[in-house]
């Protein structure tokens, strides 16, 4: 078993230090307190600042605990913030794919639709924002189940050993079936659904990641099965490419570096 990771230990020590006393310390004070080189302390502080655990006062340059740390229990990324950061990429995805775009996050065992761009054909459509979708029967939901442990746990708790809710004869029925499906999603890095939430409806989705790769939501296109899928019932490869590009672009904007 590998030993403790030094930089994480030091980061924890810096956070404890900031949590004590006045809570506002300069770089030199922090470095001296922990016996670290200024450069080392600065590197750790900048990383902590990037993830929101530490904030730096503009006027004095002193460091303090960040708001994100104080609200660690609540949502990491505000859903309205997510929409605002993703809106241009979602528009571009709708324009390129010719399909409706939705962004969803996990909410109590369901998918909460936080953003929706109409299919660009000017037909009559209504906004789905605020709507709840099933996790196990939609591409966005499968992405969340595959990459968000809390979503998976919530579904598991809800279903126990019983059967998953059925919408069509193609909806996944058992946990075992679901597990197989999610393994594929993790392997590919994207998910799809076809005639699973409703006959004639299909979708493709990919994860949106923030700092450290944390999945904060999923983004995808949805529409008529005959447009989303080829004759073999598989999602059209160019659509998959558009969706993954768009989700990656949003992730990069949110600070995910590897995706």
């Amino acid at each position: 078993m590998p030993g403790p990771i030094q930089s994480i230990e030091r980061a924890a020590a810096i956070l404890r230090l900031l949590a004590q006393g006045s809570g506002r310390l300069g770089l030199t004070e922090i470095a001296n307190s922990l016996g670290l080189a200024r450069g080392t302390a600065h590197g750790i502080l900048r990383t902590l600042q990037l993830v929101g655990f530490v904030e730096q006062d503009e006027a004095t340059g002193k460091y303090q605990l960040g708001a994100a740390l104080l609200h660690l229990g609540t949502s990491y990324l505000d859903v309205n913030e997510l929409r605002s950061r993703a809106i241009n990429w979602a528009d571009a995805l709708a324009a390129r794919s010719g399909e409706a775009v939705r962004i969803g996050t996990h909410l109590q065992g369901r998918v909460l639709v936080v953003h929706h761009v109409f299919r660009p054909d000017d037909s009559l459509q209504t906004l789905d924002v605020g709507m709840l979708l099933p996790l196990h029967a939609t591409a966005i939901g499968k992405v969340l189940l595959a990459f968000d442990a809390n979503a998976a746990a919530a579904l598991h708790d809800a279903v126990r050993d019983g059967e998953l809710e059925q919408f069509t004869r193609r909806t996944a029925r058992t946990q075992r079936e679901m597990s197989r499906m999610l393994a594929t999603v993790r392997e590919h890095g994207w998910a799809s659904d076809a005639d699973e939430a409703g006959m004639g409806e299909a979708g493709v989705a990919a994860p949106i990641r923030g700092y450290g790769g944390l999945v904060v939501g999923a983004m995808g296109v949805s529409g008529a099965t005959e447009r989303i899928c080829d004759s073999g019932g598989r999602p059209r490869p160019e659509l998959v490419g558009y969706v993954r590009d768009a989700a990656r672009a949003v992730s990069r904007d949110l600070g995910a570096s590897r995706w």
Binding site: A67, D78, V79, N80, E81, R83, S84, I87, N88, D91, A92, A94, A95, R96, H116, V117, F118, P120, D121, D122, Q125, T126, L127, V129
Partner: protein, 507 residues
């Protein structure tokens, strides 16, 4: 080589952007560079016109490089610009003779007061459709000519030229001191206070009133027409459109029919309504302005309603009060409650613009009780933008005699669903957001592409417009009426705060 793209230059108040669009109106590449804001004295705001030109020299070629193309593949370039900002430069050297004076600058306050008291002051509104106010160009030019020794004489001899930002950029692009074309378009000229709104030419009476020599003014041209060919930055590319930024957004939203309107929500908000080929004089506090003119077709006019504070109120909630961490969190906070709890915020931070024009008004929060939480305040913040829009729309309906049926929206605040729904609710008309958010740039590109036949006609452009979202009114009429009444009573409470210089500004 096929010309596959159109370029737009958006010369804005804080930055300059170059965007390439393809034939379907989709964004191909974007480059941007900010310029410095200079505040040499309280109330003064200046830009360095040379810095802005250098920025364009850099980002124009960058936009081409990003798309992997040469200037030969660009069919035309169109310019949208911050309106009213004034540049004076030496025709021979190409060097500005003063810093550019920005539309926000209030140095002409005393001069405007003096001019307003002149018995002939009524000619201004009659001939150009705008009230005498500091942010239009003519008082600024007059101030600069008075302020610098010998400048008036040089301007009279045609040695010093005047232009708004599009004139400055076109003159430089087409060669500068070496044969540069000195032009402006009808929309920008309509913001100077010097253009006759019907003749679309410099008005001798207005030139006389302000004491501005004709020799320094650019030639007024249509918004969509080839003015010349670039010899620098984008060599060989036709320069084929210029529009003020808000007019460009109207064009980009394809509001080509009488009765169509758009509202751009940023720090403030600008609502423009297409009123067709006849200018409509406002009796309800709106500005009459030119919307656009395509080639030798008749000009299309617009009514404009400007709201000073919309997004800026959210910024104040974030930065001034620290109640939220980011602007979009205002929606999250507002959704923690079902209504405003009886609380209203009137953001008259520096007076109220359209339709009230009360410079002595200041912001108020009314209806405070111990029941009110920060969630209610967040609601009141968003609702203030909704009700201010409603007041402008009411004024437009009254002035234009046609009721608005749909509002097209753009700008950063359109990502706020609660706000967009509220605007639909209080206007009682659908609110729609287009798929391309960059409507200012798109409008300049459309006008340029139209001039060179890259796009065949307005109908072709309308086919590029796609609805990305729509909010449908769902508020009970009784509740709408009651809430509007409360809002109006709140607005009245913001009036007459600043003493003793209390007075009316603007129309």
């Amino acid at each position: 080589m096929t010309q596959r793209y159109v370029m737009s230059i958006d010369q804005g108040t804080t930055s300059t952007r170059c965007i390439l669009f393809d034939q379907r109106g989709r964004l191909v590449s974007v480059t941007q560079r900010e310029h410095k804001q200079h505040f040499p004295r309280p109330g003064w705001v200046e830009h360095d016109a040379v810095e802005i030109w250098r920025n364009l020299e850099r980002i124009g070629p960058q936009a081409l490089a990003q798309a992997g193309i040469g200037p030969g593949e660009v069919a035309a370039v169109g310019i949208a610009n911050q309106r009213e900002t004034t540049v004076l430069w030496d025709r021979r050297t190409g060097v500005p003779v003063t810093p550019a004076v920005v539309w926000q600058d209030t140095r002409t306050g005393t001069l405007v007061d003096e001019l307003s008291r002149h018995p002939d002051a009524h000619v201004v509104r009659e001939r150009c459709g705008l009230p005498l106010a500091t942010y239009f160009s003519a008082p600024t030019v007059r101030w600069l000519l008075d302020d610098t020794d010998g400048l008036r004489e040089r301007a009279e001899r045609g040695e010093v030229l005047f232009g708004t930002m599009e004139s400055w950029l076109i003159w430089n692009l087409t060669g500068g001191p070496d044969g540069g074309v000195h032009v402006t378009d009808v929309t920008n000229a309509s913001r100077t206070l010097l253009m006759n709104l019907r003749d679309l030419d410099w008005d001798p009476v207005l030139l006389g009133f302000f004491g501005i020599p004709r020799a320094m003014l650019p030639e007024i041209r249509p918004s969509s027409e080839t003015y010349g060919v670039a010899r620098r930055v984008l060599p060989g590319v036709r320069i084929s459109a210029a529009l003020g930024d808000q007019q460009a957004a109207l064009f980009g939203q394809t509001c080509f029919h009488r009765g169509e309107a758009k509202c751009t929500y940023g720090t403030g908000a600008f609502l423009l309504l297409n009123t067709g080929t006849e200018p409509v004089a406002s009796t309800h506090g709106l500005l009459t302005t030119v919307g656009y003119q395509i080639g030798d077709q008749p000009a299309v006019y617009a009514l404009e309603g400007s709201i000073a504070i919309t997004g800026a109120l959210v910024q104040w909630f974030r930065d001034g009060l620290g109640i939220i961490g980011t602007a979009p969190e205002i929606e999250t906070l507002a959704r923690t409650v079902d209504d405003n709890g009886g609380c209203y915020i009137v953001p008259a931070f520096s007076g109220l613009f359209a339709p009230h024009w009360r410079s002595e008004a200041r912001g108020v929060i009314v209806g405070l009780t111990s029941y009110i939480t920060k969630g209610h305040l967040a609601r009141a913040v968003l609702e203030a933008t909704g009700w201010q829009t409603r007041e402008v729309v009411d004024a437009m309906n009254a002035d234009a005699g046609i009721a608005l049926t749909t509002l097209k929206v753009d700008g950063g605040m359109t990502s706020d669903n609660l706000l967009m729904q509220f605007i639909a609710d209080v206007l009682d008309v659908p609110v729609v957001r287009p798929m391309v958010a960059e409507t200012v740039s798109l409008g300049a590109a459309y006008a340029a592409g139209l001039a060179v036949g890259y796009w065949p006609d307005l109908e072709g452009l309308r086919r590029n417009w796609h609805r990305a979202a729509q909010w449908t009114p769902a508020m009970d009429p009784k509740r709408r009426a009651d809430e509007y009444d409360n809002w109006r009573r709140a607005v009245e409470r913001s009036f007459d705060w600043i003493k003793p210089t209390a007075g009316r500004a603007g129309p």
